[in-house]
């Protein structure tokens, strides 16, 4: 498959022209330097709405002596522009790479804001196909939720693909991009900054925000198990923030997913239908998570369709 052809095709799906609304809502665009040279903007835990312009995901960048690598670009061109402005206030190094952690629109719709940087967009080898399949419905939904604030947002797929691991030299600083098996989605990557031991997890880690399973729930648990054995000094979740130490910070999410697996298996064993299972599985977790009613039943649906074949 020819990425440039895909890119050309996808450009057709862009949502009109750039707007100037961004500055008001996203100013000030807060950045936290979680480790030297690692800057995070924590997104909102609220649902996507014109008032937040699609600023849901935790996004940010790593600064080397030669180059900046952006990790996710936010849920709209407006968020992407705010991130780009924040980078320009922080460093004069050019943005050489944009790493997209996975296919969800709160993480990638800001990429258009970096067009003039001519940065190389990097993602999991499964990402172009998944983005191509979802481009139109994602843009329709963005427009439905943000209205005029969706302007300028585009689906821009990666041109450099990660199959196993890709190592980038930002100048005196090495980062490792690792592609994972099917878990949160079928195209999750993590980014590890070797100098500070900082791991950017994308949506392999949800904190406070209800975890979302759009891949394979048993695969998600296996990946968390592998991650819990990795030595990490600092970490950045895809949503939410925490003071919990590593790897204990993974536990609430792991417990939630494991409970769904356990209770869904039990429901299937008792000959419950998919509707009955979504009505009863995992409800004891409701008070522990934000946006539970928006995502939990969907997770049970995904789990059921996976586990009914065991």
């Amino acid at each position: 498959m020819d990425p440039s052809r895909i890119a050309a095709a996808l450009l057709a799906w862009s949502v009109g022209v750039a707007s100037t609304f961004a500055a008001d809502v996203l100013d000030p665009f807060a950045l936290s330097e979680v480790a030297p040279g690692n800057f995070v903007h924590y997104g909102s835990l609220e649902e996507r709405a014109p008032g937040n312009m699609g600023d849901q995901a935790n996004i940010g960048f790593i600064v080397g002596e030669k180059c900046v690598a952006v990790i996710d670009t936010g849920g709209s061109a407006a968020v992407g522009r705010a991130l780009r402005a924040a980078i320009r206030r922080t460093t004069d190094r050019p943005v050489c790479w944009i790493i997209l952690t996975h296919v969800h629109p709160d993480h990638f719709f800001g990429t258009a804001a970096f067009r003039e940087d001519r940065a190389v967009v990097i993602g999991h080898e499964n990402l172009p196909r998944s983005m191509g399949q979802r481009a139109r419905p994602y843009l329709n939904a963005l427009k439905r939720d943000l209205g005029d604030h969706a302007a300028g947002s585009e689906v821009i797929p990666p041109t450099q693909l990660v199959r196993d691991e890709t190592v980038l030299d930002l100048g005196g600083r090495t980062i490792r991009i690792k592609a994972w098996p099917v878990a949160h989605t079928d195209n999750d990557v993590t980014v590890f900054d070797e100098r500070t031991g900082t791991l950017w997890l994308g949506d392999l880690l949800f904190v406070s925000h209800t975890p979302v399973v759009d891949g394979k729930i048993t695969g998600f648990l296996e990946v968390l198990d592998t991650l819990s054995r990795v030595s990490v000094q600092r970490f950045v979740p895809g949503h939410g923030k925490t003071d919990a130490p590593w790897p204990q910070a993974l536990e609430p999410e792991r417990d939630y997913l494991a409970l769904i697996v356990r209770e869904t298996r039990a429901a299937i064993k008792r000959r419950k239908t998919i509707e009955e299972a979504t009505d009863e599985v995992g409800l004891s977790e409701r008070d522990k998570w934000v946006n539970f009613d928006d995502f939990h039943r969907r997770n049970v649906t995904t789990a059921y369709t996976e586990l009914e074949w065991e």
């Binding site: 895909i6 172009p128 399949q133 979802r134 939904a141 439905r144 000959r271 239908t273």
Partner: protein, 277 residues
């Protein structure tokens, strides 16, 4: 696929405004005023009268779906299947899908009840229409509004199953045993990616492959058959009734768009424990 369904696919893909405006769809619209319904109705039913279905057929779905690629739906007859009066066909339509005719299900008096549960994909917020055709040729319609979007294109990427698993089937029974002459509910599960024709928009290396026909017999008599397409979720699931005897064979024959044919059989004996748990 029967000629009607094929005609629909070819025709509607051209006729419908697929990229239509998405603004202002938060309120539940009036099923009689949907702009998407008249061309579908015209193509499928021409000038035939369609009566209010509330005493004949009902359609059950959550109004706000949790996962647009897997939306459980149940179509339930409100009348008994008797040789004198029965539902012979149910058309299940998702108005806004690229190929709106999700399934055309045929029943017989041997079906026990005209009822089918399956799982649907939704490309956009849409009315679902279930139209029952009784043996006297009358049409009855039930409608329901569903808020779910993006589900036609979403799947396919998370379900790359090994080729040797495609076409594997299971029967899953609602009860542990069956009783002769008492209608029993069974779920036919088909392992199949049911790839949406949309999945190939930006990737011409794959030809979409989806289930197009399902036929289930019991003791040699057809109890349910269906022409279906990619509005049905991956790993298609159909749950319906049959009326068991003391002993008999349940058989499912499934065909997909690559002309692959899959067969699954199971002997059902009264009182003997059945799979499903």
């Amino acid at each position: 696929m029967n000629p009607l369904c094929k005609g629909l696919l070819a025709g509607l893909l051209l006729v419908l405004p697929l990229g239509a405006a998405v603004a202002n769809e938060k309120a539940e619209p009036d099923p009689a005023k949907s702009q998407y319904w008249p061309p579908i109705r015209q193509m499928m039913f021409g000038e035939r009268e369609i009566l209010d279905g509330k005493d004949v057929v009902r359609v059950y779905l959550s109004t706000r779906a949790d996962d647009a690629s897997t939306v459980p739906v149940a179509v339930k007859a409100q009348i008994d299947q008797t040789p004198g009066q029965y539902i012979k066909q149910v058309y299940l339509i998702v108005e806004r899908n690229p190929s709106p005719a999700a399934g055309i299900f045929q029943f017989t008096p041997d079906s026990g009840r005209a009822q089918v549960e399956t799982r649907l994909r939704f490309e956009d917020f849409s009315f679902v229409r279930a139209i029952a055709e009784t043996n006297d040729g009358k049409l009855y319609m039930a409608s329901r509004w569903v808020k779910a979007a993006g589900g036609c294109s979403a799947p396919g990427d998370k379900n790359r199953m090994p080729a040797n698993l495609v076409g594997t089937m299971k029967f899953r029974f609602a009860d542990e045993t069956v009783e002769a002459h008492k209608p029993a509910l069974v779920q036919l599960m088909i392992r199949h990616p049911n790839e949406s024709a949309l999945a190939s928009d930006f990737d011409d290396t794959r030809t979409p492959q989806f289930v197009r026909q399902v036929k289930v017999t019991y003791a040699g008599k057809t109890i349910m058959s269906a022409d279906v397409d990619f509005s049905i979720s991956d790993n298609p699931s159909f749950r319906f009734y049959f009326v068991p005897e003391k002993e008999g064979e349940l058989q499912a024959i499934v065909e997909d768009t690559h002309d692959k044919r899959y067969v699954h059989r199971e002997i059902i004996v009264e009182g003997v424990p059945l799979p499903g748990g």
